[in-house]
């Protein structure tokens, strides 16, 4: 069982985001492993373990040959990584990113399963999993809150508005997993030390056989404005009678 996990390396989400002058998200400073992808990494490790053999390969596209997020996932137990870092990819749209990731899956060799998160923390387009699957010509099982592999198939519980669907496909396939599907492990000290020497295959778009001209995104930002702010209303400290104030408020809205 060989599993590829797409892992995005992102700026610390706790730091307020900023736009660069070209309207792309600022991506300077150290990048970290997107927490959303830590679930995919954990899931992959568990599935390989259960299958009794195989390995987990990480793939990531990030600026400035950034590896710190990859090292975190390697420390969790992934075997190796492919990193695409290329200036022509600055401001890449989701389709371009998917084209790069699909090429990485091919480069990774004989793969049974590709795992992604349902959406990234900073981009959250949520389209990349199915785009990668379409590029590879594979089935995609999206929004999985449970994943089981049996006899060459993947069976998942797919989140729906009303509950969930049980959906199955033959391998190889792409599966996107929701946050909370598994409890990601913390890297051990041994894992952190081992991660330092695990192989990271650094490649450019031309190494992947992608033509830079074909990677242009056909969209342009025309304006960036501040949304109208919502005004704060009254705020009061509860002295044991605040509930009365709430009743008054609800009454005023005619909801009781």
């Amino acid at each position: 069982m060989n599993v590829v996990v797409c892992v995005k390396q992102i700026p610390d989400p706790a730091v307020p985001g900023q736009l660069d002058t070209d309207h792309t998200l600022k991506r300077e400073g150290k990048l970290i492993l997107d927490e959303s992808d830590s679930y995919g990494v954990e899931m992959a490790l568990q599935l390989v373990d259960k299958a009794g053999g195989g390995e987990v390969t990480l793939i990531s596209m990030a600026p400035n040959a950034e590896v710190s997020g990859l090292r975190t996932a390697l420390a969790m137990g992934a075997a190796k990584a492919i990193l695409v870092s290329d200036d022509v990819l600055s401001g890449a749209d989701s389709l371009t990113t998917a084209k790069v990731l699909a090429k990485c899956v091919e480069r990774a060799g004989d793969i049974d399963l590709v795992l992604t998160a349902t959406e990234s923390t900073d981009g959250y387009t949520g389209t990349i999993p199915a785009q990668v699957a379409e590029l590879l010509g594979w089935p995609s099982l999206t929004f999985a809150k449970e994943v089981h592999l049996e006899e060459g198939t993947a069976k998942i519980q797919r989140q729906t508005e009303a509950g969930y669907d049980v959906v199955q496909a033959n391998l190889p396939a792409v599966v996107s997993v929701t946050a909370g599907v598994v409890e990601p492990r913390y890297p051990s000290f041994k894992g952190i030390m081992a991660a330092k020497s695990k192989p990271v295959d650094q490649v450019s778009t031309s190494d992947l056989g992608l033509d830079a001209a074909a990677l242009a995104a056909n969209q342009s930002i025309t304006s960036v404005t501040a949304a109208p702010a919502r005004e704060a209303g009254e705020k009061l400290e509860d002295d044991g009678t605040a509930f009365e104030k709430v009743v008054e408020f609800l009454d005023g809205l005619k909801v009781i």
Partner: protein, 314 residues
């Protein structure tokens, strides 16, 4: 301008998100729909009432619908030449737009909260940084443009009555992708109104303290107010309540008449899903909690003290 809406249904009715997009599309040009499912005959008249002239209907059988939807649209665009195709930012909508973007080699704009059409120029508005910054992006490539719109971005209103004529489309061959088969559909029981459609939403966050407090505090207050109960992601991830209750960036967008936040800090990712509510009431013991910056009434207090008294008084 010919606009297609990727229609979705819940039972025998179009989803509210579908009707919202149709209503908006009607302002911008002529509207046709693509529907994947076996009950187009039940859906089409309702779409017609909102101004949909034609409904291209495809049966996906047991295949995951977005996969068949994308393949069907890819087969139709050349002959039908839509200028813009709108999808809901939903589970199936995302599957469909993603696969179609590859088939047509088109960029996609997702998480749209606004749309404008001027001449041939199509611009989609997105909201970033918790909805504090609005970004307008224009499509530059060849038609059709592909956009995914967040539910609740527009108001659904019947009008522009049109035929809603059904055009049956053969189920396309989606190759290996069609191996994704739905074996079973599980519907989780729900009491009271739907979260996205309720007039009042009462949500609980980590501040309620424990899973067993959700029912007596959050559910009970929601029930008394004939509303729906919701949640922050913190307590969904903790397994206290199902994901279907999550409000926010990765959950549902709600715009009720009144939103009540109990023990919710007000992270940007939560606020983006509820900031559009008409009125907001927040109860939080931390006077500095960001949720108070959007609350019409903010009570700095303990939910375990204030809420039981409130329930008692109602």
């Amino acid at each position: 301008m010919k606009i297609w809406v990727y229609a979705e249904a819940e039972g025998d009715a179009p989803t509210t998100a579908t009707l919202e997009m149709v209503t908006k599309a009607r302002e911008c040009g002529t509207v046709e729909a693509v529907f994947v499912g076996s009950n187009a005959a039940a859906i089409a008249p309702a779409l017609g009432e909102y101004g949909v002239a034609k409904v291209f209907a495809v049966d996906a059988g047991k295949c995951l619908s977005g996969i068949i939807g994308a393949a069907a649209i890819a087969g139709l665009v050349e002959a039908e030449a839509p200028d813009l195709i709108l999808f809901a930012q939903s589970y199936d909508g995302r599957d469909a737009i993603a696969r179609l973007s590859v088939k047509l080699d088109r960029t996609v704009l997702t998480n749209g909260v606004g749309l404008s059409v001027e001449g041939d120029a199509i611009t989609v508005r997105g909201a970033i940084f918790g909805g504090n910054t609005l970004v307008d992006t224009k499509f530059d490539g060849p038609a059709p443009a592909l956009a995914a719109i967040r539910p609740k971005s527009f108001v659904a209103e019947a009008g522009g009555a049109a035929a809603g004529e059904i055009v049956n489309v053969d189920t396309p061959d989606a190759g290996r992708a069609s191996e994704a088969q739905v074996l079973e559909t599980i519907v989780e029981p729900r009491e009271g109104p739907k979260l996205e459609e309720a007039t009042i939403v009462v949500s609980g966050g980590r501040g309620i303290g424990a899973a067993e407090n959700y029912e007596p505090l959050v559910d009970e207050l929601a029930k008394l107010l004939k509303g729906a109960s919701g949640a922050s992601r913190a307590i969904v991830d903790a397994g206290w309540v199902p994901y279907s209750k999550q409000v926010g960036q990765t959950g549902k967008t709600v715009k009720p008449k009144l939103y009540i936040a109990l023990g919710i800090s007000g992270a940007t990712q939560h606020m983006v899903g509820m900031k559009g509510s008409d009125n907001i009431l927040a109860i939080n013991k931390d006077a500095e909690a960001p949720i108070f910056s959007v609350a019409d009434l903010g009570i700095v207090g303990d939910v375990h003290k204030v809420v039981p008294k409130l329930i008692e008084a109602l």
